[in-house]
Symmetry: C2
Subunit: 404 residues, 2 copies
C-alpha cells in the first residue's frame, strides 16, 4: 500500500514531536491513541535485563486491561536505570493518562536509545503534552519518524484483508538498526488493526507471527533490553468476532498480519546499522522448522559471512562453517548450497562436494544489493528463512561512538 | 621465558618452509618431529563440519597410537572438500611417514586457511620433503611463523616446572586471528613437553586446561571447522611417570601447562583480526563456574561492546545488556560493574543502580591498549575470565576480501 502509515487504520490517531531528547531538533517522542479501548497483545525481550518501560508494560498486559494509547520516546532507553527508571516509566504513562482523560493503566510506554542514563523528565513531560495536542488521523508518518535512533528511514507497512464481508486494516511501524537479535528481534514495533478479535486469539496471532518475522532478523547478534512488539485491535471493522484460531476468518487475519510483520522485519535488516546489502538465508530440507530456523539464524549471525558479502567475496565456506556450529546435528555430506539473486542461482556445493566456483557469475550475483544463500540440509522437508545485512566499515563507525 | 620456541623441549625438532600455498614466498608449511614416540592428547572443533585433517587426526588419537610428528600447512584449510580432501589429508601424513621413516599412523596433520578449496598437492608434496630435510633443534621459530594466516605475529610460549627433582619443559605454539570462538577457541595449537605422563592423564590435563584458556577466547564468534589443540609428551625429562591426577606432581605439571596455554590464548585475543585493544571480561560472584563462563563469553562476544571499546566510548550499558541475554538467570538488581585498567578502577553500577560516569576517568581508562570490565553477579562465589579484542574498521578490511 502507498503511504502505509498506522493512522490508515480507522479509529487510530498518532503524532510525533521534538522535545530535545535527540540532537538537532529531530522528532523524538511518538504517541498512538485509539478513539476507544483496544484489545492488546504484546511480546517482550527475553533479555534478563529488561528496561523500565518493558517491566511496566508487562504488568499492564498481564493484567489484561484494555489499552487506548502508547507513548514512545527515542534517544534514551530508560534501561539499567534502577528504581528511578521505573518511577519515570510510570510517570510517562500517568502524564499521558491525564492529558487524554483515559482510565489509568490504559497507556503503554516504550523507550529506545542509550542504555544506563536517566530520562530527562522535564523534556519528556513537555513532549507528552505537545504530542497529545498534536494527535491527528494523519500523524502516522511523524510517529514512525519519532521512534528512529540509528535508523536511516522510517519503517511502516499496512495491508487490508476481507473477513466475512468486512474490510479489516492492519498497519504497523517499527524501528531497528542496532542491538538486533532474537528473541524479539526488533527493539520496538507497534501494530494496530480495526479487527474485532478476542484477546487470547490476538496474542496467539502475534506470537505465531513474531516467531517467523521479527525473530528471524539479526543485525549484530545483540538482544536488546527494550525489545517490544505491541498489537492493538479496536474492533471498528465490525467483522464477526475472531475467536477460533482454526477458522478461515482467522487465517485471513493471520495472513494479513504476517504480511505486515514480514515487511517490517525485512525493513529492519535492510536498514541495519551500516548496511550496504540485504541478505536472505533460506534453509531447506530440515527435519523440523526449529532446526531450519536454528541453522538459518546461525548463518545470518556470522560476522564472517556478513563481511564476505560486504566485500563481494564468494567465500561460501563460511556459510557451511556457520551451519556446522549451529548446534543442529547436520550431516556435512548431505549439504547442498546455492548463492542467488533475482536473476541467477549459482550451485556451489552438491551433497558435500564443492564445485569449482564460476567467479564471473559469483561476482555478478554479489554485486547486487540483495543476495541470498540457500542451504539444503538433505534431512527432511521443513524450511525457514532469516534476514540480515552485511557487516561494514559503517557499522563500526556507527557503534564506536554511539553514546557520544 | 625468552625465545619460547617449541624446540626448547628436549627431543623435539621443527621446521617451517615456503612451498607456495601463501603468496609472496611466505613460510606456509611447518613440521614438528620428536626423536622417539610420544604420548598424544588432543581436542578438536565441536563444529559439525570438520575439516579433513580433523577427521584424520581423530582416528589416530582415538586408536591411541603413539605420535612422532605433526605436519601443518597454512593457506588452505582442506575443509568442505569432500572425499578428495580426506585423501589429501591422509596423503600428507603418508608422505611425512615415508620421508622420516616412521611407523604409519605416527603422523598427525593440521591445515588452516581458506575453506572449500582443494589442497594443491604438488606444492604440498614438495613442501613436506623440504620440511623434513630442514628439521632442526632451532626450527621452532620458523614453524610458529609457517602456521600463521591473518595473524600479524607468531604465538609461542614455554615454561619449566620441577617435578620430583626433574626439570620438565612445556612449550607450545598456536595461530589464531579469525573464526575464533569456542568450543576450541584456537584454530590450531601444538603443545609439546618432555614430561613422562600416562595417556589418559595427559588427555585429562589438556581438557582441563583448554576449558579455561583457549575456550575462553573469542574474536568474532565463529567456531572454525579446523580447531585443533595437540599435546605431545616424549618422556625425556625422566620424571616419575605422572599417573594420578590428584598428586602434587600432577598439579605442578598442570599449572605449567595452564601457564603456557593461558599465554597462547591471550596472544590470540591480542592479535585478533584488526584488533587495536585487548579486552578482559572478568565475571565474579557467580553461583557456578559454568554460569560465570557463560556470562563472560556472552559479553566478550558482543559486537556492540567490542565496537564501543574501539571507539573509547564508556557505553557500559552494552556490557550489562550482553550479560542479560547470556541465558544465565542473573538478577539485574544485584549486578555491580567496574571498568578497569592497570592504573584505575571506575565503579559504574552498584547493585543495579548506575553512578553518573566520570567521563575524564573513563576516557583515561579506555585510552589504554588493555581494558577490563569486571562484573559481579551478586549470586555466589565463583568467577571466570574471558579474553577478546575490539571490533575495528581493520576487522572489516581483513574479512571483506579474505579469499581474494
Amino acid at each position: 500500500m502507498t503511504n502505509p502509515h498506522i493512522t490508515l487504520v480507522p479509529g487510530f490517531r498518532a503524532s510525533g514531536v521534538a522535545c530535545g531528547l535527540k540532537k538537532g531538533n529531530e522528532l523524538d517522542l511518538a504517541l498512538i491513541a485509539a478513539d476507544g479501548p483496544c484489545t492488546a497483545a504484546a511480546m517482550f525481550t527475553t533479555n534478563r535485563v529488561r528496561a523500565a518501560p518493558v517491566l511496566y508494560d508487562q504488568c499492564i498486559i498481564q493484567a489484561g486491561h484494555p489499552v487506548q494509547a502508547v507513548v514512545i520516546n527515542s534517544g534514551c532507553a530508560n534501561a539499567c536505570t534502577g528504581e528511578q527508571g521505573l518511577r519515570d516509566a510510570r510517570r510517562m504513562a500517568e502524564m499521558t493518562v491525564d492529558h487524554l482523560g483515559l482510565p489509568s493503566e490504559a497507556v503503554l510506554v516504550m523507550s529506545t536509545g542509550v542504555i544506563g542514563q536517566l530520562l530527562p523528565m522535564e523534556k519528556v513531560s513537555a513532549g507528552i503534552e505537545q504530542a497529545c495536542q498534536a494527535l491527528s488521523h494523519s500523524g502516522g508518518a511523524d510517529a514512525a519518524r519519532a521512534i528512529m535512533t540509528t535508523d536511516t528511514r522510517p519503517k511502516e507497512a499496512a495491508t487490508q484483508v476481507e473477513i466475512e464481508g468486512r474490510t479489516v486494516t492492519i498497519a504497523g511501524m517499527c524501528k531497528g538498526a542496532g542491538m538486533i537479535h532474537p528473541d524479539m528481534a526488533t527493539m520496538l514495533a507497534a501494530l494496530v488493526t480495526d479487527a474485532a478479535i478476542e484477546r487470547d486469539v490476538l496474542q496467539h496471532a502475534l506470537q505465531a507471527t513474531v516467531e517467523r518475522t521479527f525473530n528471524m532478523v539479526t543485525v549484530d547478534g545483540d538482544t536488546s533490553t527494550n525489545d517490544t512488539v505491541l498489537l492493538l485491535a479496536n474492533g471498528q471493522a465490525r467483522n464477526p468476532m475472531l475467536s477460533d484460531v482454526t477458522s478461515s476468518a482467522y487465517r485471513e487475519f493471520a495472513n494479513g498480519l504476517l504480511d505486515v510483520a514480514t515487511a517490517l522485519a525485512q525493513a529492519i535488516a535492510r536498514d541495519g546499522e551500516g548496511a550496504s546489502k540485504f541478505i536472505t538465508i533460506q534453509v531447506t530440507g530440515a527435519a523440523s522448522w526449529g532446526e531450519a530456523k536454528q541453522v538459518a539464524k546461525s548463518i545470518a549471525s556470522s560476522n564472517l559471512v556478513k563481511t564476505a558479502v560486504y566485500g563481494e567475496d564468494a567465500n561460501w565456506g563460511r556459510v557451511v562453517c556457520a551451519a556446522g556450529y549451529s548446534g543442529v546435528p547436520i550431516e556435512p555430506d548431505r549439504l547442498s548450497l546455492w548463492m542467488e539473486n533475482r536473476l541467477d542461482s549459482l550451485y556451489l556445493v552438491k551433497r558435500g562436494e564443492p564445485f569449482e566456483i564460476d567467479e564471473a557469475r559469483a561476482s555478478a550475483i554479489l554485486a547486487e544489493a540483495e543476495v541470498a544463500f540457500r542451504l539444503d540440509l538433505g534431512s527432511g522437508r521443513e524450511s525457514a528463512t532469516a534476514w540480515t545485512c552485511d557487516l561494514t566499515h559503517a557499522y563500526v563507525d556507527v557503534n564506536a561512538h554511539y553514546r557520544t
